[in-house]
Amino acid sequence: MGDHSGYRTGAERVEVLERILGENERVARANRAAFDAAGVTVVNLMSAPGAGKTTLLAETLRRLAPHRRIGVIEGDIETSLDADRLAGFGASIALVNTGNGFGGECHLDAPMIASALPRLPLAELDLVIIENVGNLVCPAEFAVGEDRRAMVFAVTEGEEKPLKYPVMFRSADLVLVNKTDLLPHLDFDTEAFRRNLDAVHPGVDVLAISARTGMGVNAWCDWLADPLGAPGAAPTR
């Protein structure tokens, strides 16, 4: 791509072929290296707003924090409300506010996670859970250096959601189906949901839970005890 035609008018085309998210991927690999060096397993927890991530996380910490050293990176657009709810369980919490003037980012990216790492005692931790920003679109596109991705889907969202947000459902290694205590009050078609999920992500692990009643939460904690031993999805990128 030399500039031998310096005085000619017109346009010159420069080939690039560079991955748009290459810089994010580079920082994600660096995060991963830092986690690996500290012997920490990292799970990226994603969902729509209101699916129950924070409630589930509180129940998770209540069960696991007495036995395992857990860190939480909490992504939130403007507030510390979620981080406040998770205080007092004995876990280390690092808040990442993604607000940047006009509304804030809709996802956590690898540089944001990198900026949170100095606020976590990584060498003293076994497990880090990243609570992503509530959003079914953007977080799926951004690797942050996690070992595994889990997503929380609430039955109140409707059985067609895997077809509407296939990238998110395809990127998850585990789909937690939450709020199952509400099923008697809903028209949610569990079979149709499983068919839709299977259409976009055949064979993905699924766990029915209720963060509110505690149903299935122990099984989720068991998965967290060894997420790498669980059968994972093929990496999508």
Binding site: S5, G6, A11, E12, V14, E15, V16, I20, N135
Partner: protein, 120 residues
């Protein structure tokens, strides 16, 4: 939703390769399985580099998005299918035993520079 931060990544990549030359057009290749809206990318493009440090060479440039359809190859019958919906299934024999062969592209492919601005 995340198109603005994607545009910022594109702006950084192109400004780095442009090395001071004035850029007129930027070409992206975006697969259908990326949840990115091409029209929103185009709309965000000026916002992403206007006033940002190091990206003055992009002023007035235009973003051109090449959309790549999602495609699968069947492991059973070997057929290639282009997907109209994000369901990974062979249009030939109906199996879901397929390999994704296109649709996840997310690249800056090239850009054009105004050569009349270049001093040899």
């Amino acid at each position: 939703m995340h198109e603005l931060s994607i545009c910022r990544s594109v702006a950084d990549i192109v400004a780095r390769h442009a090395a001071g030359r004035r850029v007129t057009r930027v070409h992206l290749r975006v697969g259908a399985l990326r949840q990115v809206v091409p029209a929103t990318l185009v709309y965000c493009w000026e916002l992403a580099h206007d006033g940002e440090p190091g990206t003055a060479v992009l002023a007035g440039s235009v973003l051109v998005v090449e959309a790549v359809p999602a495609g699968v190859r069947c492991r059973r019958c070997g057929a290639h299918s282009e997907l109209a919906v994000p369901i990974l299934r062979c249009a030939g024999c109906g199996t879901t035993d397929v390999v994704l062969v296109s649709g996840e592209e997310f690249l800056v492919t090239s850009f054009e520079v105004a050569t009349d601005a270049v001093e040899a």
